[in-house]
Symmetry: C2
Subunit: 205 residues, 2 copies
């Protein structure tokens, strides 16, 4: 087994949380390297594309959240082997990455009025569209999980996003948006958080 190390911010969310959870669920040992925003500022120029998460396999560097999710998903048994089910899993992860990138654009807006306008436009437009379409996809795939009829890294990715929306980390985006527009994604969130290993993880960390 290679030595694995995952570097990301010290938060229960964002782009590395699905991979942390996947490795915990699958019993894959790794170094959980949590950095402060200050550390990030200091070390940024050394990270691939000047970003985190960064995953290191022995001495091989791997960047990009979903690339890491897919790789550790295979190690943890949480990624489908069938090509179409794998595509269902990828589609959901790519869609969530797309919407969190759109949210990300608003993170560094210094003008509060501009941020408010951008966040309200996101809530009325893309976030609503993504919530509704993800709910439709979940329905089409049996209603419980997004791919393979079981928990995969796609479910972890969606759960972390929906939980973030409801937590209020995005000012000007109503926290009840998922409950109003996509109640089945809220049920899905509870389903994922109720998984014995996920429940155990959040009790421990």
């Amino acid at each position: 087994m290679p030595k694995l190390k995952l570097t990301y911010f010290d938060i229960h969310g964002g782009r590395a949380e699905p991979a942390r959870l996947a490795m915990y669920i699958g019993g894959v040992a790794f170094e959980d390297d949590r950095i402060s925003f200050q550390d990030f500022g200091a070390k940024r120029s050394g990270y691939p594309f000047k970003r985190v998460p960064l995953f290191v396999i022995d001495d091989v560097e791997l960047s990009q959240g979903n690339t890491i999710n897919r790789y550790v998903g295979k190690l943890a048994g949480l990624y489908p082997t069938d090509a179409l089910q794998a595509a269902y899993c990828d589609e959901v992860m790519d869609a969530v990455e797309d919407i969190i990138s759109q949210q990300g654009v608003t993170m560094f807006m210094k003008d509060e009025a501009q941020k408010k306008a951008a966040r309200e436009a996101l809530a009325d437009g893309p976030i609503a569209i993504y919530l509704e379409h993800l709910q439709k996809m979940l329905d089409a795939r049996g209603g419980e999980y997004f791919a393979d009829g079981r928990l995969t890294v796609a479910d972890l990715k969606v759960m972390v996003w929906v939980r973030g929306l409801r937590s209020g980390i995005l000012d000007y985006v109503p926290t009840d948006l998922p409950d109003k527009l996509a109640p089945k994604l809220v049920e899905h969130l509870d389903r994922v958080l109720g998984h014995p290993k996920v429940d155990e993880y959040y009790a421990r960390f």
Copy 2:
């Protein structure tokens, strides 16, 4: 063999071009459904997440450019089977998707001064960072291809992006940026365009 249909704009670029090329190279028959921007406006609400590309496998819909690239890459023999090589391929595709999403934000800016400032900031910041780091990755992986020591969908994704930058479709982003910052990506572009099937494709279409 299922019936395959790929819907996207009628341009030699963007998010569906790597999949079109991959299927052509691999001899995978598909319906190349090219729509006008007007068609898109009219049909938009019916597309998953209101976006294209859309790939249809018999009657199963698949959205998200890289999800489609990965699926057709497997059909065409242009996606690695080894997990680490697959991750190298994914990483490059995810990185390019990230930077084209950042470029995409500037597409709909109506204020020309705002667009100019945003594009110049992109050229000096993220586009430069991505060009330089992708060149470094190419070097680290042998200098010719991004994964598996051979042509994969990752090479097609990078080629389409670099060609787009050099074509001048992004006003205010200097077209000689790849040549100045990442000359090995320009050699890579020529290598991919020189592939017999890619060459044949652009002679025909």
